[in-house]
């Protein structure tokens, strides 16, 4: 069995009276595309910062590729690339200068690799432009590039698509997917749950500093989410009386687990004279799972 890419055990962190991390245990395998989800303030960034050595935990242990992030910080930091949530940059330098400097901090001269990253992130035309002159989305790409200069086997992206247009978002995911296919472990936090659903093989959900769900994306969808039958009825009140939920657009939604239930439901609607005018099926999605997990936790 190979070493886990990330191992977090009994991690706690308190800010004054606030328990930001309340005992987190987590193991992420090499090569995974892992999603770290949770509402604002759940502790995602704190967990990532602890992993990167930016935050000192009160208790617990963290390892990256088997290297303790405190005792063996040099190896741990070499193995880790972090794209921070905040849009930070050094206004003194151009994109290429910045990437050279960043590689240098890791003791590397990586000009050919930097060209590849620039290309892959659509930054080639901006290579010699000063950071100050870049748009927000471009700055975000540079943050991704900076996290990759030392070719870390483990890459953590903290909300990389906040405030980013559709084109860049797709380009970014394509690039990150390729990194993942090449063997890099990817950890992603995002509030766009459909992104997490399509990209991540496994997901952990955090709430108030605790892991409240941890499973493969497929299992989570299956375990928690129900299908939905959306109906438009001539007599919506009849649908509601039969257990449906009216939404603000005039649709009545019925939740169900097994398709056999649909037959029964349609028969009852007909008997009651609800007058079915239109219907759609809603697949289970991560957003429903998320809402449900957060309510139960």
């Amino acid at each position: 069995m190979s070493l886990p890419a990330i191992r977090v055990s009994a991690l706690t962190k308190r800010y004054g009276g606030l328990q930001a991390l309340a005992g987190v245990d987590l193991e992420i395998r090499q090569g995974e595309f892992f999603g770290l989800l949770g509402p604002n303030g759940a502790g995602k960034t704190t967990l990532i910062s602890a992993l990167a050595g930016l935050v000192r935990p009160d208790g617990g242990r963290l390892e990256v590729m088997g290297h303790d992030v405190v005792a063996d910080y040099r190896q741990a930091r070499r193995a880790l690339g972090v794209v921070p949530q905040e849009l930070v940059f050094d206004p003194f330098f151009s994109v290429r200068e910045l990437l050279r400097i960043q590689a240098g901090y890791f003791g590397l001269r990586a000009d050919a690799w930097i060209d590849e990253i620039l290309e892959g992130l659509g930054l080639t035309a901006k290579a010699n432009v000063n950071m100050r002159a870049l748009s927000g989305g471009m700055k975000r790409r540079v943050l991704v590039a900076q996290a990759l200069v030392h070719r870390p086997p483990v890459i953590v992206l903290d909300e990389p698509t906040a405030g980013v247009d559709v084109e860049l978002r797709q380009g970014l995911w394509q690039f990150v997917r390729k990194l993942n296919e090449a063997g890099h472990t990817i950890v992603l936090t995002t509030h766009y749950l459909e992104e997490a659903e399509t990209l991540c093989g496994r997901i952990a959900m955090l709430k108030s500093g605790r892991v409240v769900a941890l499973d493969t994306t497929a299992n989570l969808l299956e375990r928690f989410a129900t299908h939905t039958l959306h109906t438009r009825l001539a007599q919506p009140q009849i649908g509601v009386a039969l257990g449906g939920r009216a939404d603000e657009d005039g649709w009545v939604d019925f939740a169900f687990d097994q398709f056999a239930e649909v037959e029964v439901l349609l028969a009852r609607l007909r008997e009651a004279g609800a007058g079915l005018q239109e219907m759609r099926l809603g697949e289970p999605d991560l957003e429903r799972v998320f809402v449900e997990v957060m309510q139960r936790a």
Binding site: P84, Q102, Y105, G107, A110, K178
Partner: protein, 263 residues
């Protein structure tokens, strides 16, 4: 496309050298403000004070006031700019948040310290040499003991570079840093005997001046030029050397704890 190749070759010192290089680039790119402006400032002091006082005042018997003033001005500019370099760089990085790019890589806190302090020393020396070059045609400077000059310049720059690191990581806002500068660094340098020999002061002020470590930096530095000083250069060296060691130890201890950097 990226593959999991072994990373390119690396050498142990490259991280430190890169941080030093970045810190030097940072002030060099705006050299107009960081080097030329302080040289101009010092020249204004020299022109005004030496014009007013040159004919009336001599120091150590035969040294004209203008000559006496120049080493003090050089050292004062060196010290203030060494402090300004590390402190302003760090607080800017903290406030804009880009300090994380130096905290994420495998740089040790000693490398971090050495790079910031060395860059400060370099800027201080550059400004000091600038002031010296411009003053050269205007006054007589004998350069009696060049080695003393160099030693005090290096130690003084390193002490203020260290103080700048402490101030830069302690301050959360620019006005806190300005407070540090205005209420500590500026008075200590101004009252250190840049503009006068402390022998011309009343006894009480002489004693107070002796408690100011900046006085020893300037007095020892001046000794290198004239072979005369208010106190023995060895005493100055001892005070300045001990200050340097203590301050370095304090700064390293703060950095090792991650004080205000790794929360």
């Amino acid at each position: 496309m990226p593959e999991l190749l072994p990373p390119p070759r690396e050498s142990a010192l490259t991280g430190f050298r890169t941080l030093l290089h970045k810190e030097v680039l940072r002030f060099w790119k705006v050299g107009f403000q960081t080097v030329l402006a302080p040289v101009l400032n010092a020249m204004l002091f020299l022109l005004i004070f030496s014009h007013v006082l040159d004919r009336h005042v001599t120091v150590y018997g035969e040294v004209s006031y203008g000559s006496f003033l120049v080493p003090g001005l050089v050292m004062m500019s060196l010290l203030q700019n060494a402090f300004a370099n590390s402190s302003s760089s760090l607080i800017q990085s903290k406030i804009t948040g880009n300090i994380i790019f130096m905290l994420l890589p495998p740089l040790s806190y000693r490398e971090f310290y050495a790079a910031y302090v060395l860059a400060s020393v370099l800027r201080g020396l550059l400004v000091g040499v600038g002031v010296l070059l411009v003053a050269w045609p205007l006054v007589d400077l004998p350069f009696v003991h060049p080695l003393w000059i160099l030693v005090f310049a290096l130690l003084g720059g390193a002490i203020l570079g260290s103080l700048g690191v402490i101030a830069g990581i302690w301050a959360d806002k620019f006005d806190q840093l300005a407070g540090f500068q205005n209420f500590l660094i500026l008075p200590l340098t101004m009252l250190s005997g840049v503009f006068y020999s402390i022998h011309s002061l009343p006894a009480l002020w002489q004693r107070i001046s002796h408690a100011n470590p900046f006085f020893y930096m300037i007095d020892g530095f001046r000794y290198g030029f004239f072979g005369h000083s208010d106190v023995s250069p060895w005493l100055s060296l001892a005070v300045v050397g001990v200050s340097f060691v203590l301050l370095t130890a304090l700064t390293l201890a703060l950095l090792a704890r991650g004080y205000k950097l790794r929360t």
